[in-house]
């Protein structure tokens, strides 16, 4: 069913780091999302438009773009909520290199994930009994509050410190590090705390809270990073890490 209400004036970024916004006219429909709009342009107006999406229902994080200046999941952004005066401006996520049009190169995002030691370091083997982890210990609650990250990059795109400090690991990588720091099965915490105390580590965060405001999963990286700041300070005073 198509309730055509009016026409939207949609500016899309075309090009790479160099390029320009080009404007397209898209019919507005009821319950339309920004992803619907981008898809319409690519299918009916200009097939050379490059963009990413996958699930289109808000579980994969692939469709994140800058919509009227803010990084958002386009599949979960209703046009009616953001298109003031029938205008939309859509660009690639900020703070990341642009491959083409609306797609960015996420490699640095994942490299920083690794650099923050965001990988689980096991201490048991398959021959050991399964670890009994209570879900209500403070550590597990803290870890659980951060594990739903799907690496969409919205926090990274919205972070002032990422923009100003090319070394900064970013809210997502540090949140993952925090969930592992709180995981009692993990054995890599000394190396991890050391890694996130390097230049560009958790101490570079200024607690602006853009990440927390923008995260579509309602995670709170500011709080996770604050936890890391406290943990590294204690570890430093105990001599477990050097910095």
């Amino acid at each position: 069913m198509s309730d055509t209400l009016s026409e939207l004036s949609v500016s899309l970024w075309r090009g790479t780091e160099q390029g320009r916004y080009e404007t397209y006219s898209v019919p507005q429909r009821a319950s339309q999302t920004v992803l619907d709009v981008v898809t319409f342009v690519q299918r009916h107006i200009d097939p050379t438009l490059s963009y990413r999406f996958a699930c289109r229902v808000g579980v994969c994080g692939s469709c994140a773009m800058t919509v009227n200046g803010k990084p958002r999941w386009t599949c979960r952004t209703h046009v009616s909520k953001v298109a003031g005066g029938g205008r939309l401006e859509i660009g690639p996520l900020q703070n990341l290199p642009v491959i083409k049009d609306l797609t960015t190169d996420m490699e640095i995002f994942f490299e920083k994930w690794q650099a923050a030691k965001g990988a689980f370091a096991p201490t048991k083997t398959r021959h050991d009994p399964i670890a009994q982890i209570r879900p209500d210990t403070p550590a597990r609650v803290a870890a659980d509050a951060g594990i739903e990250c799907i690496n969409c990059g919205v926090c990274y795109a919205g972070c002032d410190t990422v923009r100003w400090n090319s070394d900064y690991l970013g809210p997502a990588a540090l949140t993952r590090a925090w969930t592992l720091v709180n995981d009692e099965r993990d054995g890599g915490n000394t190396a991890r705390l050391q890694a996130i105390s390097a230049s560009g580590g958790c101490h570079a965060c200024h607690s602006h809270q853009s990440c927390q405001e923008l995260c579509p999963q309602a995670l709170n990286p500011t709080a996770s990073i604050a936890g890391l700041k406290r943990r590294t300070a204690v570890a430093y005073l105990k001599g477990e890490i050097t910095s």
Binding site: H206, A226, K229, R230
Partner: protein, 99 residues
């Protein structure tokens, strides 16, 4: 951002502040003549501005110390707005008193 700029403003102001106070070194006559100079309206206005910078930097700093050391999570962005508003009030009261 306000926090950073107010800090920068204060950092630039402080050496001048210390220099002015250092004028008291001999017997205060130099300090007195400086204080008379600073009685001008434009200077008082600048001083009001400095009071604002000081207060806003203090309140922004308290916000950070709370976020980073306590569990509280909601309403902290509003804290920033309240901090700015409170600083304006403080600076304004200062101005009223010195004019």
């Amino acid at each position: 951002m306000v926090h950073r700029l107010s800090g920068l403003g204060l950092a630039i102001f402080l050496p001048l502040h210390f220099l002015a106070l250092g004028l008291a070194i001999h017997n205060g006559a130099q300090l007195d003549s400086f204080l008379r100079w600073s009685d001008q309206p434009l200077v008082k206005l600048a001083e009001g501005g400095l009071m604002f910078l000081l207060t806003v930097h203090l309140l922004g700093g308290l916000r950070i110390l709370v976020i980073e050391n306590f569990d509280w999570r909601d309403g902290q962005k509003q804290f920033a707005t309240i901090a700015a508003a409170a600083s304006v009030v403080v600076a304004f009261v200062f101005l009223v008193r010195v004019f």
